[in-house]
C-alpha cells in the first residue's frame, strides 16, 4: 500500500494537513531542519518544491523562496539528497515534489523519476503540465513507482476530470481559486461540486491548495469535502522572516493548522 493510501486510511475521515516548502530555502542546512519541524508540528504529508528560475504558477512569496534557494546554488540533486536524508528519519510521511516541466526534462524524464523514487519520493506534481500533456509524464512516473499528481480546478471541464482521474495518482491537487500561489483571504471554497465529481469518477482523494493560510480555511475546506489541504505561502512567509528561530515558528504554525484538520 502506498504511503498516501496508508495516511488517508490512518486518518479515517479526518482531513490530512499538508505542508509545502521550497527545498534549499534559504539554504540546505536550514531547509533540513525545517522539514523536520513540519513533521514535528504534525504535518500529515509534505510537499516540496524543487526551485525553478521561472515559476509562472507561483506568486511573489514562493517566487522569492525559489530565488533564495537558487541564489545559494541549490540544484535538483541537492534536493533529492535532502529528501533522502528526510526519508531516513521519517519512514511513513508521504513526500511529494512540486516542480516545473523543464526541471524534469533537463534531467531526462526517466532519470528524474528514478532519482525521485530512489530518494523516497511518493509523488510528483508538475505545475505546468496539464492533463492535455500529462500522459508521458504519468507513464514514466508510474514506471518508476512514483504517483503522478494531477491538478483539478473549479473550471476544469468534466472530460478533463475524467482524464485526470485515470492518469493521476496519490491525491488530486484541487486549486482553491484562479491565479497563482499565495496566501490571502480571497479563496473561494465552493468546491463541493468538484470534490463530488472527482469522487464519482474515482479520482485520487481531493486535496485543496492555493491560499490556505488560516485554521478557518482548513476547517472550511474539509467541511466542503476535501480529503486534505496544503498550505504553502503561509509557511514560506515564516522562512522569509529569517533563519533565527524559524523551526520553532514553523512547528507552532503547523500545529495550529493541524489542530483545525
Amino acid at each position: 500500500m502506498t504511503r498516501y493510501r496508508q495516511m488517508f486510511d490512518r486518518l479515517d475521515n479526518k482531513g490530512a494537513f499538508g505542508a509545502f516548502v521550497m527545498l534549499g530555502d534559504p539554504d540546505i542546512e536550514t531547509s533540513a531542519a525545517i522539514l523536520d519541524a513540519l513533521v514535528e508540528g504534525g504535518a500529515d504529508m509534505i510537499e516540496l518544491g524543487i526551485p525553478f528560475s521561472d515559476p509562472v504558477a507561483d506568486g511573489p512569496v514562493i517566487q522569492a523562496a525559489a530565488e533564495r534557494a537558487l541564489a545559494n546554488r541549490v540544484t535538483p540533486s541537492d534536493c533529492f539528497a535532502l529528501i533522502r536524508d528526510f526519508r531516513a528519519k521519517h519512514a511513513s510521511v508521504p513526500v511529494g515534489i512540486l516542480t516545473y516541466a523543464n526541471i524534469v526534462l533537463a534531467r531526462g524524464m526517466e532519470a528524474f523519476y528514478r532519482s525521485a523514487s530512489v530518494a523516497g519520493v511518493d509523488s510528483v506534481l508538475v505545475a505546468d503540465v496539464p492533463a492535455f500533456e500529462a500522459e508521458p509524464f504519468a507513464r514514466t512516473a508510474r514506471a518508476a513507482g512514483v504517483a503522478p499528481v494531477m491538478i483539478a480546478a473549479p473550471n476544469t471541464p468534466s472530460e478533463t476530470l475524467q482524464r485526470l482521474a485515470v492518469l493521476g495518482g496519490g491525491y488530486t491537487y484541487c486549486v482553491a481559486r484562479a491565479g497563482v500561489t499565495g496566501a490571502g483571504d480571497d479563496i473561494s471554497l465552493n468546491h463541493d461540486a468538484l470534490f463530488g465529481e472527482l469522487r464519482r469518477l474515482g479520482a485520487p482523494p481531493p486535496v485543496l491548495g492555493f491560499g490556505i493560510s488560516t485554521p478557518d480555511h482548513v476547517k472550511a475546506a474539509l467541511d466542503a469535502g476535501a480529503a486534505g489541504v496544503i498550505s504553502g505561502s503561509a509557511i514560506v512567509r515564516l522562512i522569509e522572516a529569517g533563519a533565527e528561530g524559524v523551526a520553532d515558528r514553523i512547528r507552532a504554525f503547523v500545529a495550529s493548522m493541524k489542530e483545525a484538520a
Partner: protein, 391 residues
C-alpha cells in the same frame, strides 16, 4: 482542444490546468474566425485602411549590385512601426468576439506593447502591458507611446528584468484574470494556439512579398531573411515560401557579444530542447534546466526561448539559423541609414547584417528579400550612445 498544437515534436500546451479552458476558448474562437467571411473581411479592411497594407517591397538603390539584388519588405512602414500590428488587430478582434473587456501583453522592444496599446484604444479594451524594467529604460520612447494611447505599463523587476520576465508576469496575471481578459501574446511562442494563430495573422507578410518579388524579378528569391526573437516576423515571412524548396529560409538570431560567450540570444544555435512559457522548444538553459539570461543590444531579440515552429524548421533542415552580433547589427543599421535613407529597428538590422554578408560573398546572381520588421525611432537614444553620435 481540437488540435494537438505540435510542430513535429515541438510545441504543445504546457500551462497550469486552470488556463486550459482559456486556451481552448481561444483556439475555438480563432479556428471559427478563420472560416468566418465577415471576420476576415473586417480584418482585411483594418489591415488596408488603418494599418496601411500592403507594405512595399523596396529594391535597395545603393546596397547590393546589379547582380546581387537586395529587397526590403517594409514592415517598418506599417502603422505602429513594426510587423506587430498585423497580428494584434486579429487578436484584438478575437478578444471582442470572446466577450473579453481587457487585454494584457508582454513587450520587449516595446513594439508589441505599442501595437497592443493602439488596438486597445481602437477597440475600447482596457490594456495593461508588462515590460522588463531593463527594457523600460532602453526603450523609453515606446513606453511613452503606450501610455499616450491609454495603456498602463507595468515594469517587471524579477529575473533579468527583460522579455522573459515580462511573459512570466503576463502569464501570472492571466491565470487569475482569464474570465474577462485576453492575453495578447506578441510572438509565435507560448502554448498552443498562439504559435499557430500568430503565424497565420503574420502570414500576410510572406504572401505579399512572394507576389511582389515575382512581379519585380519574374522569379522567386534565392533566400528570404528575417531576424528571430520569438520568431513572429520570420514565421510571417517564411510561411508562404516553405513549399518553394529552392528558396532558402534564413533566420538570424542575436549573437550579442559573441556566440562563444554567454551574452547572446541565440536560442536555436546555442540552446537545447526544453519547456518554457508553455511550449516545448529550444531554450537557453543550464544543465539543471534553469533558464539562462539572454543578451542582445536589441530588446526584441533578447529572449532565451523561441517559437516551437522554428525549432521544428531547424531540426527538419528546412530553415537555416545563423547569428549576427550586436556590432554587426549596429554597423548594418548605420549603413542602411546612410546608403538608403532608412532607419530600421535594431532587431531588423540583424537580418540585414547577414544579408549584407551574403551579398559580399556572392559570386553569382543573387536575389535576397530581407524582412525589415520595424523602424528605428525607438532605438534613437541607444544608437546615439552606441554609435557615439552627439545630438
Amino acid at each position: 482542444m481540437r488540435m494537438k498544437g505540435r510542430f513535429g515534436a515541438f510545441g504543445g500546451a504546457y500551462v497550469p490546468e486552470i488556463l486550459m479552458p482559456a486556451l481552448e476558448q481561444l483556439e475555438a474562437a480563432f479556428l471559427d474566425a478563420q472560416q468566418d467571411v465577415a471576420f476576415q473581411a473586417e480584418l482585411a479592411e483594418l489591415l488596408a485602411k488603418y494599418a496601411g497594407r500592403p507594405t512595399p517591397l523596396t529594391r535597395c538603390r545603393n546596397l547590393g549590385s546589379a547582380k546581387a539584388r537586395l529587397y526590403l519588405k517594409r514592415e517598418d512602414l506599417l502603422h505602429g512601426g513594426a510587423h506587430k500590428t498585423n497580428q494584434v488587430l486579429g487578436q484584438a478582434m478575437l478578444a471582442c468576439r470572446m466577450g473579453k473587456r481587457r487585454i494584457i501583453a508582454e513587450t520587449g522592444a516595446g513594439q508589441h506593447g505599442v501595437a497592443t496599446a493602439l488596438a486597445g484604444a481602437l477597440f475600447g479594451l482596457e490594456t495593461r502591458i508588462y515590460m522588463g524594467a531593463h527594457d523600460v529604460e532602453r526603450q523609453k520612447l515606446n513606453v511613452f507611446r503606450m501610455q499616450l494611447m491609454g495603456a498602463e505599463v507595468v515594469p517587471v523587476e524579477s529575473g533579468s528584468a527583460g522579455l522573459k520576465d515580462a511573459i512570466n508576469e503576463a502569464l501570472r496575471d492571466w491565470t487569475a484574470s482569464f474570465a474577462d481578459t485576453h492575453y495578447l501574446l506578441g510572438t509565435v511562442a507560448g502554448p498552443h494556439p498562439f504559435p499557430l494563430m500568430v503565424r497565420e495573422y503574420q502570414r500576410v507578410i510572406g504572401i505579399e512579398a512572394r507576389a511582389q518579388i515575382l512581379e519585380e524579378e519574374g522569379r522567386l528569391p534565392d533566400a528570404v531573411i528575417a531576424c528571430v526573437g520569438g520568431g513572429s516576423n520570420a514565421m510571417g515571412m517564411f510561411s508562404d515560401f516553405v513549399e518553394d524548396e529552392d528558396v532558402r529560409l534564413i533566420g538570424v538570431e542575436a549573437a550579442g557579444k559573441g556566440l562563444d560567450g554567454a551574452e547572446h540570444g541565440a536560442t536555436l544555435l546555442r540552446g537545447r530542447p526544453g519547456i518554457l512559457h508553455g511550449a516545448e522548444t529550444y531554450v537557453l538553459q543550464d544543465a539543471d534546466g534553469q533558464i539562462s539570461e539572454s543578451w542582445s543590444v536589441s530588446a526584441g531579440l533578447d529572449y532565451p526561448a523561441v517559437g516551437p515552429e522554428h525549432a521544428y524548421l531547424k531540426d527538419s533542415g528546412r530553415a537555416e539559423y545563423v547569428g549576427a552580433t550586436d556590432q554587426e547589427a549596429l554597423d548594418a543599421f548605420a549603413l542602411l541609414a546612410r546608403s538608403e535613407g532608412i532607419v530600421c529597428a535594431f532587431e531588423s538590422a540583424h537580418a540585414l547584417a547577414y544579408a549584407l554578408k551574403m551579398i559580399e560573398e556572392a559570386r553569382e546572381e543573387l536575389v535576397l528579400v530581407v524582412n525589415l520588421s520595424g523602424r528605428g525611432d525607438k532605438d534613437m537614444e541607444q544608437a546615439q550612445l552606441l554609435l557615439g553620435l552627439k545630438p
